[in-house]
Amino acid sequence: MSVVTPPSFVVAVDELTVARARAGDEAALEALFRRFETPVYSLARRLTRSPHDAEDVLQETFLEVVRSIRRFRGDGSLAGWIRKVAASKALMKLRQQGARGREEELFDDLAGHTSGDGPGGSPAPGTAAERVDLETALAQIPATARAVIWLHDVEGYSHDEIAAMAGRTASFSKSQLARAHARLRELLAPGVREGTCT
């Protein structure tokens, strides 16, 4: 499977800005922040759902970037590093939400939701209205399944990588991905459309 950096994290950062940021140049660090704040916030928002928590994740992510960019040695994978920091911070925030009981059924196993295995689902969303439906549906699936589907299908992480970040196993990640797709299919199924999409 090819792991592709999703469009949101395809950000051109010139070497000079990175070198200055590594030297602790505040203006360069802010320039990096400005380039990445939207993708980081978007990722955090998808995982945590709360604007407030997503801003916390953004802050934690860049505090980590400011602290650790000196030790960052990667070539051209700055975006990948920042994204990984963001994903880890967002998962941490989810665990906190779970501990506070804000996120219902965090690690539960609602068997009924995965019962719809096999083919026969609704068509995939394509129009603007369907996009809104998809966003609404995504927000309704349980936190862990939502995090896994986002990290896997959108951010391009493998099940092994997700397992390492979340402190779970790869098979847990696989079952959560299936669960997320099953939930999405259920949520999008009623009245999405029949026949052609006009």
Binding site: M1, P6, P7, A12, D14, E15, L16, V18, A19, R20, R22, A23, G24, D25, E26, A27, A28, F33, R34, E37, T38, P39, Y41, S42, R45, R46, P51, A54, E55, L58, Q59, F62, L63, V66, D75, T114, G116, D117, G118, P119, G120, G121, A124, P125, G126, E130, R131, L134, E135, L138, I149, W150, D153, V154, K174, S175, A178, H181, A182, L184
Partner: protein, 195 residues
């Protein structure tokens, strides 16, 4: 028996075993479901980005500054600071200078400051262009900038003295030399500097 959702996803992601992949290739229903799952993935990736409604950067700066035991913050963009302008106050007092030696020092300083400003202007205009630069070249640029910043700190200390001095001229000469090197590095991408 059709494939499970987990198997369908594995087929979609190209990591399925031979049996599952074979079934998906032969079964129209499962093939359609694999296609649908790929379309869901594409639709998720196409969801619009969200922007924070508050500016979080000031909080990051405040927290980083609060906890730093080492020097995290470098001077904020030496070019933006327009440092050369700070030191021109030393010039223009020539009328008050009495001796020929002092007047000569003042003229020398003035020339060096002018050259320094010219080079900074050249750098500022190249700064606006996005340049492709190797990591090594960028490292050289930052080293030079750090050395210029050190000179500037020394000039700021020496600047309290109204009159031009030999020491200050030495600092200005070094500053011009470093700026000159910086201009040539940024132009040519050289990394070796015999400085």
């Amino acid at each position: 028996m059709h494939l499970s959702l987990e198997e369908l996803l594995a087929v979609r992601d190209g990591v399925a075993g031979a049996a599952a992949a074979g079934h998906a290739a032969a079964c129209a229903e499962c093939a359609a479901e694999v296609k649908r799952l790929a379309a869901v993935r594409a639709a998720l990736a196409a969801l619009p980005e969200e922007r924070p409604s508050n500016d979080v950067w000031p909080a990051v700066v405040a927290r980083a500054a609060g906890e730093c035991e080492r020097r995290v913050w470098r001077r904020a963009g030496w070019i933006a600071a327009g440092l050369a302008a700070m030191f021109t106050i030393a010039i223009g007092v020539r009328g008050a200078l009495e001796t020929y030696a002092e007047a000569k020092l003042a003229r020398q300083t003035e020339t060096l400051v002018a050259e320094s400003q010219r080079l900074e202007k050249a750098l500022r205009s190249s700064e606006r262009r996005e340049r492709v630069m190797s990591g090594r070249t960028a490292g050289t640029v930052v080293q030079l900038e750090d050395r210029i910043a050190t000179i500037d700190a020394q000039l700021a200390r020496a600047g309290n003295d109204r009159y031009p001095s030999q020491e200050r001229i030495g600092l200005w000469q070094e500053r011009v030399r470093l700026l000159d090197a910086l201009v040539s590095v940024e132009k040519s991408g050289t990394t070796y500097l015999g400085l």
